[in-house]
Amino acid sequence: MLDISDLTIEKAQKLIASKQIKALELTDAYFKRAVKLNPIINSFITITGDAARDQAKKIDDLIANKQPISPLAGIPIGIKDIFSTKGIKTTAASKVLEDYIPPYDATVVTKLKDANAVILGKTNLDAWAHGASGENSDFGAAKNPYDLERVPGGSSSGSASATAANQVLAATSTDTGGSTRQPASFCNVVGLKPTYGRVSRYGTVAMASSLDTMGHITKTIYDNALMLNTTAGYDPMDATSSTKKSEDYTKDIEKVPKGLKLGLPKEYIDGLDDKIKNVITSAAKKLEKLGVKIVEVSLPYTKYGVATYYIIQPAEVSSNLARYDGIRYGNKRDAFGPEAKRRIILGTFTLSAGYYDAYYLKAMKVRRLIRDDFINAFKEVDALICPVSPTLPFKLGEKASDPLSMYLADIYTVNINLAGVPALTVPAGFVDDPSTSSGQVLPVGMQIIGPDFSEKLLYQIGYAYEQETKWYETKPKL
């Protein structure tokens, strides 16, 4: 049988194009692994065997007929179960939508299908993308492949765990307050939160519309850039998508711009857990060795981020979830879980007459200041590097009963969504934790944050660092 353990999109694509393997073989190998590991990791809500095989056969026919194929052709991927997939159940991990089958594809899904990627299944998540652990899924929590007693992070829990466990070569994800970057950090994979408007939101169940971005998770930086090549671009169906032309993100990925200057924001380092701080500072040193200049910068409004985020986000959530009334599709509203109910109530309250000015309007003003923080920082430096999560991957159940501490886990990620700028999570090392029963070390990621539409630069920085460190080669013992 085909050995897929070391594959990346880049490698698999070469094997398919050179006819060393058939797309169907690749799909079958990933399908088997996905099915085999799912009872342990719970990365998938739905696994789509037959449809995936049909798609793979189609690509083999294209190759047999000497048709040109895209870099994603035949690549088995997961789709976070919040992107609408025509004819395939899309649940948002909520009982409300447990039987809902969309009649249309999200734009990202259409683009991936057009690129002939093979959709292997719909990945698990915190219901409605509310959460940072995956435990809010109504279909059971996904597990961290590096330690099955720990969470893979959230809300894109299944996309991160499936990629890390090599059940897929890549998976789509969303990022409203860290939902791509934090699970990528917890699972030693690469996660992109693109610039707001870079990737169409059309067809993805909305969480907080002004913050939602459509990302993806891969093993390597190059693979991540390949995915963005397909998903990025203007979509007339999403009025907030940007008309700015997208780029070839893999082109010149190995080149680091000369005289590059990166900032370490002190608000993200002060008071940080020592073990995580060590990872970030040694990553900074590694980059310095590569000729990058590192300076300290300040983003003074950082501390207001979580408070601002937890006003704006639930307000939009409360409105976006209003359509789930059980009249046209889905189950009745009593099927909402506790976290969704909490956000609906919070948001309804902050938008109410007499409170709007004090909460929502005020938060929108602070949001502007937080964005200004980033704009000002980017006058001094080309990009920022900082931690993704204040903690290591925590144990399942550890924070489940304390929603506030779960919210505070978003401290290093939400500001980026409030500002709308892009950020990339890159694996940055491993830390041992005495409480780890399996004896495995736990992954830690770092974020590279850039100005609007600087995805290409983020990839170049990430690529240079990745070539030096190759943390992606450290696989989970499964």
Binding site: D238, A239, E316, A322, R323
Partner: protein, 439 residues
């Protein structure tokens, strides 16, 4: 009555765009099979997003410009959150604090100016029907109307009676039809009317402490009835020293009365906030100028021009400018009329009296037919003049009567001339000849 009515008006006008406000579905839903003009967007399916219809926005601005409003430099859509089964998304995309158009006015024939507070865009809802299916009472929802563009036009409480309201409504209807942005067909629900009515003591300047809104009326006749009903209902309450309840009422056609629907205590908190799915708008001077140039001649201007250029009476000009097609028809006909030796006034009379089927008879054909039908034997000019002289001399009393304003006397004189000549004459020509002589 010791009270003075204070009446304001909200009117929803459905635009006649090809597609809906936020999706590509056809907006022409009237009489269509339920739920056939739908898509993920107007059904509010998970993940669907609105993309605004530029045509609808331009048309809203054109309405605003026609009503003399100012177009906002920057504007946005907002979400109006409320639950109702016909509202697919659980919120309506509307405009709250920054409407596209604000601050205009409309002048009534009595010279009174009605101030326009604002005109904004929003989307229509689906439609609920309560029916019996297999013996069971059910509620059915048709989403064909969901997302059809609406313009809401709000006035200040400047009306004093139902007559003024109806005149304003007719003007508004005429205006949107002239602009070609709505069919404004009452029967199809293209215009929905919501008067708010309250009473104050005569001479009092402040607005009353309450107001009663009557929702969703679909005819000018009912709006008149509803206002008059409310005026007498509220007067009776005030007469016994009480204050009418601030509430929303509906017009009940069977009862010929307004009935309470919702009181202030049950009023919605719509939790408005800026629609995050649609970026804000800025309208440049150039954009607005372009739209202004595109705006056709509006009813009031056309009426004045008809009076001036064609020497028509107010009455004739009003009839001919009531809708754009008859105004255009008249102007076309004046060309053909000129060749046939008819004055615009004569052409106007022909159109007003004959009420031709303007969709099927060309203006030139109308004139040709008219001339043919009134083909008369040529009359010796001197013979005719002589006959007129004689008739006028013999009928001094009738001449006096006509000069003192009795129009009938002219017809008498006309008959007398006809009789004297004893041949068939073009009555209209003779009439104007007589009028000329009697000036």
């Amino acid at each position: 009555m010791n009270y003075e009515p204070v009446i304001g008006l909200e009117v929803h006008v459905e635009l006649y765009t090809k597609s809906k406000m936020f999706c590509a579905c056809s907006a022409d839903y009237f009489g269509e099979e339920p739920n056939t003009h739908t898509c993920p967007v107007c059904l509010g399916l998970p993940g669907a997003l609105p993309s605004p219809n530029q045509q609808a926005i331009d048309w809203c601005l054109e309405i605003g410009l026609a009503l003399g409003t100012k177009i906002a430099n920057s504007s946005k859509f907002d979400r109006k959150n409320y639950f109702y089964p016909d509202l697919a998304k659980g919120y309506q995309i509307s405009q709250y604090d920054l409407p596209f158009c604000s601050g205009g006015e409309v002048t009534l024939t009595n010279g009174k100016k009605i101030r326009i507070t604002r005109a904004h865009m929003e989307e229509d809802t689906g439609k609920l029907t309560h029916a019996k299916v297999d013996g069971k009472s059910v509620s059915l929802i048709d989403f064909n109307r969901s997302g059809v563009p609406l313009v809401e036009i709000v006035t200040e409480p400047d009306f004093e009676n139902a007559r003024e309201v109806v005149e304003y409504l007719k003007k508004l209807q005429q205006t949107v039809r002239y602009l070609g942005v709505s069919q404004a067909d009452m029967e199809k629900g293209d215009m929905r009317l919501e008067p708010n009515i309250s009473l104050r003591k005569k001479g009092q300047k402040d607005l009353p402490d309450y107001k009663v809104e009557v929702k969703n009326i679909n005819s000018f006749k009912f709006v008149e009835k509803a206002i008059n009903f409310e005026i007498s209902r509220q007067a009776k309450i005030l007469d016994v020293g009480e204050l009418p309840v601030q509430e929303t009422r509906g017009w009940n056609e069977q009862k010929n009365a307004t009935v309470s629907q919702r009181s202030k205590e049950e009023a919605h908190d719509y939790r408005y906030f800026p629609e995050p799915d649609i970026p804000p708008f800025t309208f440049t001077k150039e954009q607005i100028e372009k739209l202004t140039k595109k705006t056709p001649e509006l009813p009031a201007a056309k009426l004045e021009r008809f009076k001036k250029d064609y020497q028509l009476s107010q009455y004739d000009a009003e009839i001919l400018t009531r809708d754009l097609s008859s105004a255009d028809y008249f102007e076309e006909a004046t060309y053909a009329g000129k060749e046939a030796g008819l004055t615009p006034k004569q052409v106007a009379n022909i159109i007003i009296n004959k009420k031709p089927d303007i969709a099927n008879i060309l203006p030139a054909t109308l004139i040709k037919n008219y001339i043919a039908a009134n083909q008369t034997a040529p009359v010796d000019k001197t013979k005719l003049e002589k006959a007129i002289d004689e008739v006028l001399a013999q009928n001094q009393k009738a001449v006096e009567d006509y000069k003192s304003g009795k129009e009938n006397a002219l017809m008498f004189l006309l008959g007398a001339v006809m009789k004297k000549i004893a041949t068939k004459l073009d009555a209209n020509l003779l009439k104007s000849k007589l009028q000329e002589r009697l000036k």
